[in-house]
Amino acid sequence: MIIRFAGFGGQGIVVSSYIVGKSAVLDGKKAIQNQAYGSESRGGECRGDVIIADEEIYELEPTYYDVLIAMTQPAYEAFVPLLKPGGTLILDKDLVVTDKKLEPKRIKKYAISATDIAFKTFGRKIVANMIILGYMNTLLGAVSEGALEKAISESVPRGTEKMNLEAMREGIKLAGEGVK
């Protein structure tokens, strides 16, 4: 499974992809995580890719994706054409306006107000990525929930584990509602 997280620097894009990769490794799978960002530290374009597989991974920077998580308009516009037909698109609906013309066929689209919920529920916009993570994983079952929890608590700054895990569970909840 090839997943791309894309957005601005500062949205926790790279760390999200890292957490997914790490969870996969904890599950005993093979995983590669890769990132790209511009010269600026904050506010620039940024993306994080994860490839999860049961066997050896040969493709280092794939061209097409199974899953795209788009957190900004430019990220959506740049990368949604690269989704494989039938792929999954998850986006922050307050930050992205979709355009049918750009999208490949038969994709599954999910839009949530991750940033908004993060701010309203937890007082911190930064945990939007955790909401997305929980949401995405529930939809796709990319990694086990236990591994995801472990990876999150080991990857976020000390003292914020609880909040991040709660945000992730919020995402799971949202997914549950959405799927229902």
Partner: protein, 277 residues
């Protein structure tokens, strides 16, 4: 006449390049702003001006100015600038650089150019760390400062860049911080007008790099810190010897302004003497 009416931005900036890559509240933009206004004030002929820089966030500045620019290798900006100035002495040469570029890898070129006294204006944005590569320790990081390569606190004493420039022989040296933009602008203006090597050190916030790791998260925290921890030269000089010793603040202001023979002028004399018709 028409150009004059324009905003400073329209007049000097390369429109395709702006907005910049700089992070929110980064001090480099302020420095550019001050520099452009200083240039405007002295009515510098922009066609006859070359902006030179090395590698680092502040070295990206020449790319934003609609003028000749040379973005060089890490630490070497002053050497390229030396070549330009000597080959075409009628050009105004302005070097934008950062603390790591100028005094870290390029420290030797810095002191030698100051000694040589070549007519150029060196504007150094000192943000206490290597911002572009991800907040590593720089030669100006304060003692105890946290950087990605000093995770346990810096144990190296930092450079006082201005003192070093004076020690190396620079005839014009000024130090300001971006919280004093008018003074910064005036210092740059004086520097451009100075015949000789002019060095202007500007302490500027790097909220994403140094700030974030040292409890100066917001640009404004950083600026307030500079305000609190600096003291004007004239005020400092009024202190008693004892107070001076006890004072751990950064002394800012025009720190040196002397006249001494300038390299290209001296070379010009030498050529006139030995030229063979």
């Amino acid at each position: 006449m028409f150009r004059k009416a324009k905003h400073i931005r329209e007049k000097y900036l390369e429109e395709n390049m702006w907005p910049s890559i700089f992070c929110q509240a980064c001090g480099i933009g302020t420095v550019l702003n001050c520099a452009l206004r200083a240039i405007d004030k002295v009515k510098l002929d922009i066609d006859q001006t070359v902006f030179v820089s090395g590698i680092g966030c502040s070295s990206r500045l020449p790319g934003y100015i609609d003028a000749d620019g040379l973005h060089t290798t890490h630490g070497r900006a002053i050497t390229f600038a030396t070549g330009i100035k000597l080959a075409k002495p009628e050009l105004n040469v302005i070097v934008f650089t950062g603390d790591g570029d100028l005094a870290g890898i390029g420290g030797n070129h810095f002191i030698h150019a100051a000694r040589r006294n070549i007519d150029m204006t060196v504007i150094c944005v000192n943000n206490y760390n290597y911002g572009m590569t991800g907040a590593q320790l720089s030669p100006t990081t304060p003692l105890g400062g946290i950087a990605t390569t000093s995770p346990y606190g810096n144990i190296e004493s930092p450079f006082d860049l201005s003192a070093l420039a004076i020690g190396a022989g620079a005839p014009y040296v000024a130090k300001w911080t971006t919280i004093y933009p008018h003074e910064t602008m005036t210092a740059i203006k004086d520097g451009i007008e100075k015949k000789g090597f002019a060095f202007i050190e500007i302490l500027a916030p790097c909220p994403e790099g140094y700030g974030r790791r040292n409890k100066l998260n917001q640009g404004k925290d950083n600026l307030l810190w500079f305000k609190k921890n600096s003291i004007g030269k004239s005020r400092y000089e009024k202190l008693s010897e004892e107070e001076k010793r006890a004072c751990d603040k950064i002394v800012i202001g025009k720190l040196n302004d002397i006249d001494k023979p300038e390299f290209t002028a001296e070379w010009s004399k030498l050529v006139d003497k030995h030229f063979v018709e």
